[in-house]
Assembly symmetry: C2
């Protein structure tokens, strides 16, 4: 058998190689998984505050390596140092956020029901699932990378993590892994808390591995659904939390259109952010034809004159073929700019289409992963509700309403919220705020588990499972489930919160 060729990351600005990685072979994967399994009892047995301490040590280590990480990430992704400095700041904050959420213990959802004459005592608590496979994203080397939301929330919840490194930024991935492993070891976390594998085949073998308990993925529909299908073919099926690219809709009400200049300006900033490589990028705007939004967006885009350089050659090619597909589906090109630079340059574009063309199954409702937006004009607001019903599930949507009362906003909001995980009023979906109440996930096909979130306090709950203990004595229970509550976990007793 010939050994698999190495994986290679590239500098998108030149197309030249930056980093190579040897694909992880079956024996090495088995050893990595065996270490993860060995770490399970410790990770699930320590108080969540102890895991929080480990995670803060990881956050410290990332912060200490900031300049080197940003330099490397910019070389491998061309996302720009300003954006990457911000993303690193955010990633450090994320790791600390999940650490603190773990320590706070709400994710355990501990609940006791006291025995009475009729029923025995019952205690229910969330226990960690076991080793989690994390498939990071290409477009966020830090925030959704080796130490991104999925890894941090899985570790916080008490699960060892094995990361499949994204081939677009192998150098950053290895650097993050190395510093996290050292920091974890120094903080006292067991060997096997965090592992890494490289290569397409190793990713498949990871999902198929008998000891893997769950998969988290951020990326394209094709990638996420392939992993979901693979997991569904296992003898023991495991959950796949895939968060996938979608066309995030923006709806401007007739009253909201009074601010059409502000909408045009904000939209261009939002859809060109990170060269349009955001899963939360607004992709389709429903706006009154009278506001002439497409023309205004084109003016603003021409003024900004972005020169997108994409993460990979494939993504750059996808932008070109995507714009073509939108035109084939009935959209008219209002403006297309750039795409003729060096390396993996791609155009930015705005297109326009009559609202009536926006129908379920149309290519107009498929994501173009790049700085491309479609404006669908409506003549009469009565048309909009029917179109909202045609939209597929998406991660997030925006509603631009008038100030004060807005009857259209009230009518459209239930339809819009039934299609997404998050609705933003008078703002933009790119940049999902890191707050407890965040919901980053939405109906199929934006995720494979519409109740799950990749960001926010409930991200931890993806990686735990409730277990009930009936008729137990405290001394036989694990500490987390004891009535004496040695870890001071928030707890409901007979329906009432005690802390």
């Amino acid at each position: 058998m010939t050994p698999a060729p190495p994986e290679i990351s590239h500098d998108p600005r030149t197309g030249l190689p930056t980093t190579t990685a040897r694909p992880t072979g079956p024996a090495e994967l088995a050893a990595t998984m065996a270490r993860a399994v060995t770490a399970v009892p410790t990770l699930s047995g320590v108080a969540p505050g102890e895991r929080a301490r480990w995670l803060h040590a990881v956050a410290d280590a990332v912060e200490a390596a900031r300049e080197e990480l940003v330099r490397l990430a910019d070389w491998e992704t061309a996302l720009g140092t300003a954006r990457l400095q911000g993303e690193l700041t955010r990633t450090v904050a994320q790791v600390r956020f999940y650490a603190d959420e773990a320590a706070a213990g709400h994710f355990l959802r501990l609940e006791h029901d006291t025995a009475d004459g009729q029923t025995p005592g019952m205690t229910r608590v969330n226990l960690p699932l076991g080793p989690v496979g994390v498939f990071g994203a290409g477009n966020f080397p830090f925030a959704f990378g080796v130490l991104g939301h999925d890894t941090a929330s899985a570790l916080a919840a008490g699960c060892p993590v094995v990361v499949k490194a994204h081939p677009a930024h192998l150098g950053v991935s290895n650097e993050l892994f190395g510093l996290a492993r050292s920091a974890l070891a120094a903080a006292g976390a067991p060997d096997g808390t965090l592992g890494i594998v490289h290569g397409f085949e190793a990713g498949i073998d990871l999902v198929r591995h008998a000891d893997l308990a769950a998969v988290a993925f951020t990326g394209s529909q094709s990638g996420g659904l392939a992993l979901w299908r693979l997991a569904n073919e296992r003898p023991v099926v495991i959950p796949v939390f895939a968060e996938m690219g979608t066309v995030n809709p923006v709806v401007v009400t007739p009253l909201g259109a009074a601010r059409i200049e502000e909408v045009a300006h904000g939209l261009v900033s939002s859809f060109t952010l990170g060269h349009g490589q955001y899963c939360t990028k607004p992709g389709l705007v429903l706006a009154p034809t009278g506001g002439d939004l497409a023309a205004r967006v084109a003016d603003e885009l021409a003024r900004l004159a972005p020169e997108p350089v994409m993460l990979t050659q494939r993504i750059a090619d996808g932008v070109r073929s995507g714009v073509k597909a939108l035109q084939d589906a009935g959209a008219a090109l209002t403006l297309q700019l750039g795409g003729d630079g060096a390396g993996w340059s791609a155009p930015a574009a705005v297109l326009e289409v009559p609202l009536a063309e926006v129908r379920a199954g149309s290519t107009l409702l498929e994501e173009v992963f790049g700085a491309v937006v479609v404006v669908a004009g409506y003549d009469a607001p009565e048309q909009v509700l029917a179109t909202l019903a045609e939209l597929p599930g998406a991660l997030a949507a925006t509603l631009f309403a008038g100030p004060g009362e807005d009857p259209w906003a009230a009518r459209w909001l239930p339809a819009l919220s039934s299609k997404v995980g998050r609705v933003v009023l008078d703002g933009w979906t790119t940049g999902a705020p890191l707050v407890r109440a965040q919901q980053h996930g939405g109906p199929w096909p934006s995720t494979t588990q519409p109740t799950a979130t990749t960001i926010g306090a409930r991200a931890l709950e993806r990686f735990v499972r409730p277990v009930a203990y009936q008729g137990f004595r405290d001394e036989l229970l694990p500490p987390v489930a004891r009535r004496s509550n040695p870890w001071s976990v928030p707890c409901r007793v007979d329906g009432n919160w005690t802390s």
Copy 2:
């Protein structure tokens, strides 16, 4: 096209027909689903306390029809009037439980994060999924039937329900549906809140229907997994909450064996309950060989001399072939009793096998749906941990420990709890107590969604999905999500509970 033959329920004691039902055709299913869709805005728009009022009206109606329902159910299931009286009492209590849980509002998991200089305000709340298809069980005509846990918790959560009636008790199903529909209408619930379909094809068409949002199923592995696969083939995949039969293990520690007489007595009561037709039936007992448990169970079984009559001919045949398959897998028959009565009579049996034979993939780990139990004796307690690792996921397990400290119990509990949704100490898994902290669900293949429960407060959470509202003004939000909290829902604000 020839019309499909009618479905027929039978009297298990004689094998004679009791009730027939005409299969629901495609046009009728479409009309039923259209009514459910029409009910969605009302069900999701009213305060949960209003839905609670409707459900209490349903509970009242069931209670008022008690004698007729029990008579009909005994005719169609042969479960006996004492058991069915108890099951009806429990079912009325369940409907009221989910009503009260809905009104209490914890399932909404409402959470606000206040805007600060860095982040916008964010509100997250659980919204109902939409129409739910419920496939009830044969073995619990009330508790897991037309108005069972799934229906009651889905309605409580704000989802219309379309039930696929179980062919084993069509008469009870139609009676329950009729009285619930009347009660719902009289209480002011919209038409379409509850629907019913009959027939195998209608069940498939229901799962495939574009407007169905989720499926709940209670029954066999083959049935549940078939629906799960069907849902996974939809253009828009929907969650299937299938709760399926498994071999629920009982583990007796060396110290627990001091009470071997009590174990034998309780085990026989538990595994013969409802003629062994419980998804929580203990199916495999790991006990010290010295205690001679199989012989004691055989003695107790002989004394009790049960005469099982099964729900269907197929189940009765399955008991016979199941006992044969256990013997082929290496188990020795200690005692087999009965099975030669009228109608769908089947034997009760206890078998014995050395612990070493209990290995992953063995037929010994497949459920026999009937009054059949396998005792696996261990010579040394050091053998047990390896066997626990071989067990497949199950709904529930029992641990019989010694009084006070029990080192084996402490060592085995983590392994046991990693395999099940509920662990019972010194008691039996049959009869899952109706308490908030109940977890009736476990790892694959006992359920298709190991985080879900069919019983308990969290049963409602299967049928909702979180939505986040970012930067909203109160007046644009649905009442449930408003800061002013008009429904007085339990709420976390900036991480702290306010009620």
